[in-house]
């Protein structure tokens, strides 16, 4: 835990300074998780602010400070869902936009070491985003939380409020789907290189 239970208790009792301390302790991590879930850097801060606004108005519903982190992740997942739903309603293609954006960035890179490194990162990002595009939105977020954010099954159980076995099955299926897409993309790349 990045913050002591007393600070959480103080924030629950309406102490704004304690709430600010919580935000400062978690904002970078939450920004990172949102960035990896929604994939739109320009909207990450907006969604993160929404998470903390929701946290501010729902802190009194928190049963004990011990479950604070899963609670915060739950708010993060819900805010990300809401954002993605709104995007879908607007008919915007997230992945396509991201790729275009990244291509522009990659094209601008002139070949220095740092730029080469950035290019490699962009390739990874593109590849994983494309693979995750093969599974449903819910499974994508679940996989990101487990495989990228490194949350344990116990934490996921508290976030999703489902039992561990159901989570294991969902994760297994999602991973299998991503693996199949991974193999397919590898085969396509091999075929492209051979040609």
């Amino acid at each position: 835990m990045r913050i002591d239970p007393e600070t959480i208790e103080q924030a629950r009792n309406g102490d704004d300074a304690a709430f600010s301390a919580i935000v400062q302790a978690y904002r970078k991590r939450i920004l990172g998780a949102i960035a990896r879930i929604i994939g739109r850097p320009e909207d990450v801060e907006d969604v993160a602010q929404e998470v903390f606004v929701r946290l501010y108005f729902s802190l009194d519903q928190l049963r004990t400070p011990e479950v604070f982190e899963p609670w915060l992740y739950r708010l993060t997942v819900n805010a990300a869902y809401d954002y993605l739903r709104k995007q879908r309603r607007r008919g915007e293609s997230r992945m396509a936009d991201l790729s275009e954006q990244q291509i522009v960035v990659a094209d601008a890179a002139a070949g220095s070491r740092a730029e080469q490194e950035e290019k490699r990162r962009i390739q990874y990002r593109e590849m994983v985003q494309a693979l995750l595009g093969e599974v449903s939105e819910q499974d994508r977020i679940l996989l990101i939380l487990k495989e990228v954010e490194g949350l344990s099954l116990k934490e996921l159980e508290q976030i999703y409020k489902v039992n561990e076995n159901a989570l294991k099955v969902r994760l297994f299926r999602a991973r299998q789907r991503v693996l199949r897409a991974f193999e397919k993309s590898k085969a396509a790349r091999t075929a492209g290189t051979a040609a």
Binding site: Q24, R27, L31, V44, Q49, V53, R121, M127, V128, L179
Partner: protein, 110 residues
């Protein structure tokens, strides 16, 4: 390296390729502005709800009073003497006749 391991490796690389972004300088002021905005709109909503509930209660009370007035024009519309004057004598009541009917004697009573 198995495919599972390669996938895990890919996720690790993805994590490194997408580091946690630094929040901008406007993050905290923006957050507090949003909290204040939401607090204000919640307060306005609460006030409106309170006013609406009060108005609804007043209207209900008014309707109840009005209904009672129409149903009962007054408990004592006439004076005591007027009431006695209009009162029907006991004999004219239907059940009065029944009360004065002669009951035939039953053979068992003889």
């Amino acid at each position: 390296m198995s495919e599972e391991e390669r996938l895990a490796e890919l996720f690790r690389s993805y994590r490194e390729a997408c580091p946690d972004p630094e929040p901008g300088a406007a993050f905290m002021p923006g957050l507090w502005a949003k909290i204040e905005g939401r607090r204000r709109s919640l307060l306005t909503l609460r006030r409106w709800t309170g006013a609406f509930v009060a108005a609804a209660m007043a209207l209900s009370l008014l309707t109840i009073v009005q209904t009672l007035r129409q149903a009962d024009p007054g408990l004592h519309p006439f004076s005591y003497v007027e009431t006695l004057g209009t009162d029907e004598p006991f004999e004219t009541f239907a059940y009065g006749d029944v009360a004065y009917l002669e009951v035939p004697e039953s053979p068992g009573l003889r």
